[in-house]
Symmetry: C2
């Protein structure tokens, strides 16, 4: 490979500057963490009233919530979340404090029982597989890996997973039993599924009669801007297209009230809900209804929920703006990186030159900046192009976000220019 | 069969009186429920302070409990329960609101993963079986049934399961993977396992290398009298006898604070705990630590827990005493029934003449008294002798308990005398 001497000289100068900047960074001894999508303490403060006195613990219909029972969860709370999760209240269940638990349990129940429409337990199949749009959420992939479910990556587009690929794979292979979807402000790209993507997911023929869409609507109300994204109604479309039992919908208040003390939701068709309750009835005599009541009293109604989320947005928007601004000023026009500017959710996805993501994360670590491991956004931790870095700007305070992103940009400049120079010399 | 005419006449008179009493009962149109072991509203009132303001939600070591993390549960809470559950604090985990969930999940994790000491997943075994001391807890049996685990009944003795039977079955059959135990104030007999029983359980050779004791210590601190029962330290004895990984210990605050908003516990050997955490780490980013903190602040310490349980006992003892008194006055000396007088727990077990339990429950239902179905105390709902009726006196207020037990006694007299007369005539 050859290049004009002036370009090589320029690149070399850029690399040398980046090396010096990185050395200075390391010398500063920063300790910053951009790894996980945790709410910040100031966001948690927004829900502090949730801790207040809540007696009497009685539901609208007079039920004593302190006692056993109520497997479906508190109807008043389900009513608040029905619209935003796009699930009719009678098909929406309120559970414990983690939607990840519900996704895990859905896989367990499908492995050890027979889902509606299925012919046998998934453990009795020689092999099963899930489609995994990439980049995606590492904890989804970890669940598949734990249960020996083969993962098939599917590329993401601006409107969601590449549906040509999805439709082909599910049509031809009965071992493909499911797909992971984060349909709104996806983790980590911030992608909002287009109406056409949702419609095609609902309508596509599948070789497996017990195919399921794991619809992790984790960021249903987590808008950053003034125009909340709307997605099509998956459950309704599934029913309309003759596949009523295709979708499992998940949601939670983990990033609404308290990540360590919220409520999770499961929604699906009537047949799926009946099946789910037949499984959970053996497991529990009911969820923590008192915590659900606290949420009802704190959020009040759907408008109260929206209002509360606007307060979150007011705290989060400056952080997302800062990331975009710093990346633009440090890396804009260099050709060394591109990144997403999501309108909601918890993450920004940074794309670096092929083969550079791991090296950038390693260089950042040397400078005290902890990033999610490169590859975590892909099944088996393997991003074949080694390009994607997930940025989680929500937890640190704004000055720390700024420091960390500036440092990250330095690492991208260093690794990127070194890579180009090495390519030129090879 | 023959009998002196005087006896037949006497029995006939008793039966006729019982028939009249039952007809009167039916006419009264009672609506009473003795089915489930729920705490009464007055017991729940004892924990009302649990609802009070709890800010700031910070643990002793400064952790912000509102956020993600802390998979093992709050150390301060585990410290309060370590002694009563006989589990070292570092081997005790605090989880969600239901110990039944943890037992379910233990079976799931063992089916879909390999427990320490095991060679393969339980789903990959052609068949597995659990020993079920009878009478026992219907929800244990329901879990086995759900997962296709064959249940082998083992008779209870005054000191726990008949260990000669247990030792023989586990020694000869590698398919026997576990045993259900409620070691203190067992459901429904109120039996307290003797030290010798616990020692033999810990020491016995088992054909299955991955044999597990499911030690549901549901009533660890639920004493009725002034002399709390003590049981031997199963975990310690297992370790001592070279079987450190044999026991899974379960407990909860469901019948201490709120049945609908408590905390459950899992305790085991270090290897088991590590295995458990490797399973749950995929399922959740941590339990509801705020509810755990509420429990710490409410119970304060082990002495606070004991004090709180004495208040429960003060509410429960009169109900248990009333059952014993009414059964003695109505059925004592008739030879028609025997019953347990437990020193703790939630249940009384009533034994009626062979072949009569279902009929008694049916007659009670006619009179508006709802009892746990006869047979529920046995695997597959089948009490072969049709003798055992579980009485749950905790939930109704005292006058209702008295009414219901008097009515139950009438039904026993009716069905019992009819049965004896029928036997005489056959």
């Amino acid at each position: 490979m050859t290049a004009p001497a002036s370009t090589v000289e320029e690149l070399t100068a850029q690399r040398d500057r980046a090396r010096q900047d990185h050395a200075d960074l390391v010398a500063r001894g920063l300790r910053l963490d951009l790894t996980r999508g945790k709410p910040s303490p100031r966001q948690l403060d927004l829900a502090e009233d949730l801790l207040d006195a809540q007696a009497p613990a009685v539901s609208a219909d007079g039920t004593d919530l302190r006692n056993y029972g109520g497997l479906q969860g508190l109807p008043e709370l389900r009513a608040i979340f029905g619209d935003s999760l796009q699930v009719p209240v009678e098909q929406l269940l309120a559970a414990g404090n983690s939607s990840l638990e519900l996704m895990h349990d859905a896989l367990v129940f499908a492995q050890l029982g027979v889902v509606p429409g299925g012919e046998r337990r998934w453990v009795d199949e020689p092999e099963i597989a899930f489609l995994c749009p990439v980049p995606g959420y590492d904890r989804h992939f970890a669940l598949c890996e734990r249960f020996g479910i083969r993962m098939i990556p599917v590329p993401m587009t601006a409107g969601g997973p590449d549906m040509d690929v999805v439709e082909r794979l599910v049509a031809e292979d009965p071992r493909v039993k499911g797909i992971w979807c984060v349909p709104k402000y996806s983790n980590p790209d911030g992608t909002v599924y287009s109406d056409e993507t949702v419609r095609r997911l609902a309508a596509m023929p599948t070789a497996a009669r017990d195919f399921r869409i794991f619809w992790d609507n984790a960021y249903a109300v987590h808008h950053l801007g003034d125009e909340p994204a709307e997605i099509a109604d998956l459950l309704g479309l599934c029913a309309e297209h003759g596949n009523p039992d295709r979708a499992f919908v998940f949601g939670s208040t983990s990033k609404i009230t308290f990540a360590g003390g919220g409520v999770a939701f499961f929604g699906a068709s009537p047949a799926n809900v009946e099946w789910w309750l037949s499984c959970t009835a053996k497991r529990s005599i009911g969820p923590d209804k008192i915590n659900q009541l606290r949420h009802v009293r704190f959020l009040r109604d759907a408008e109260g929920l929206r209002e509360h989320m606007r307060r979150h947005a007011a705290l989060l928007r400056p952080k997302f703006d800062a990331v975009d601004k710093i990346l633009t000023s440090e890396l804009g026009g260099t050709g060394l990186a591109s990144w997403t500017s999501p309108a909601g959710g918890y993450f920004i996805s940074l794309q670096v030159p092929e083969g550079c993501a791991r090296a950038v994360v390693a260089k950042a670590k040397e400078a005290g900046i902890n990033l999610t491991p490169a590859g975590a956004t892909h099944p088996y931790g393997d991003d074949p192009a080694d390009r994607v870095i997930r940025i989680a700007p929500t937890y640190p305070e704004l000055p720390e976000v700024e420091q960390a992103i500036a440092a990250l940009a330095t690492c991208v400049r260093l690794v990127g220019t070194e890579k180009i120079l090495a390519d030129l010399n090879s």
